[in-house]
């Protein structure tokens, strides 16, 4: 028996394209929140939390003191130890684990917004520098 030709053309797999969204919001001259995330261009679904961070301006330079990302497919937090060091503490402790990338993004933004003052206070304390603005 001869094999019937497949009348349907082979399916061509098209790799999804992603959009990178960056939003930076200035709270004061010395505080800012940045959130960067990837969105599937066709479905508009959030597929990765690239960065949600709180930065402070010290001596004309923006320093990220806490940031979140979901690069390994789970949400985790990085905390800068003190100003003069590049060291960061990476943790999943008290970080939202359940849900999808969108819920992680909104949770991370919410956490930074609610706790930014405490993150700032502790960072200045660890760095042994006086906070002239708060």
């Amino acid at each position: 028996m001869s094999r019937k030709k497949n009348k349907y053309p082979p399916k061509i797999k098209v790799a999804p394209s992603f959009l990178r969204k960056t939003n930076e919001q200035l709270l004061t001259f010395v505080d800012r929140i940045t959130y960067i995330y990837k969105v599937n261009a066709s479905t508009r679904q959030i597929v990765e939390v690239v960065n949600v961070s709180y930065e402070v301006k010290i001596e004309a330079k923006w320093i990220t003191i806490v940031r979140y990302d979901s690069s390994h497919n789970y949400l985790h937090k990085h905390i800068k130890v003190f100003l003069e060091s590049e060291l960061e503490i990476t943790t999943r402790d008290r970080v939202k684990q359940k849900g999808d990338h969108k819920s992680w993004l909104t949770w991370a933004i919410d956490d930074v917004q609610k706790n930014f003052y405490e993150y700032r206070r502790l960072f200045f304390k660890r760095s042994k520098i006086i906070d002239n603005f708060y």
Binding site: L19, K21, T22, N23, E24, Q25, L26, L27, T28, F29, V30, D31, R32, I33, Y35, Y37, V39, R44, I46, K57, E59, A60, K102, L105, T106, I109, D110, Q113, F116, Y117, N132, F133, Y134
Partner: protein, 93 residues
């Protein structure tokens, strides 16, 4: 670095008020990804309240500071319109 500013509110108050606005803005931007597609990618948002004129006055100074740094700025104004809760304006230097 000391700022020589004539602010009518403390930095802590400004941060606290801007945080509440930025929470609303963040929710809107995450749920409406097309809203800022036409704007420059590395722009900074500065929020403006529908009610708080004092906050808006100090936030105008933030815009000036950003423009001096050479940053692109988007003014995000809260509206009282439920269908369009935010109005965006790109600010040129």
């Amino acid at each position: 670095m000391w700022y020589n500013l004539n602010l009518s509110m403390s930095i802590k108050t400004q941060a606290s008020k801007n945080l509440k606005l930025s929470e609303k803005l963040a929710q809107f931007l995450v749920n409406h990804p097309k809203a800022t597609e036409k704007f420059p990618k590395n722009a900074s948002f500065v929020t403006f309240s529908a009610q708080d004129k004092n906050l808006n006055k100090v936030n105008k100074q933030l815009i000036n500071e950003l423009l001096e740094e050479g940053k692109k700025v988007i003014k995000a104004e809260e509206t009282n319109d439920r269908k369009l809760p935010w109005r965006f304006t790109a600010i040129a230097s």
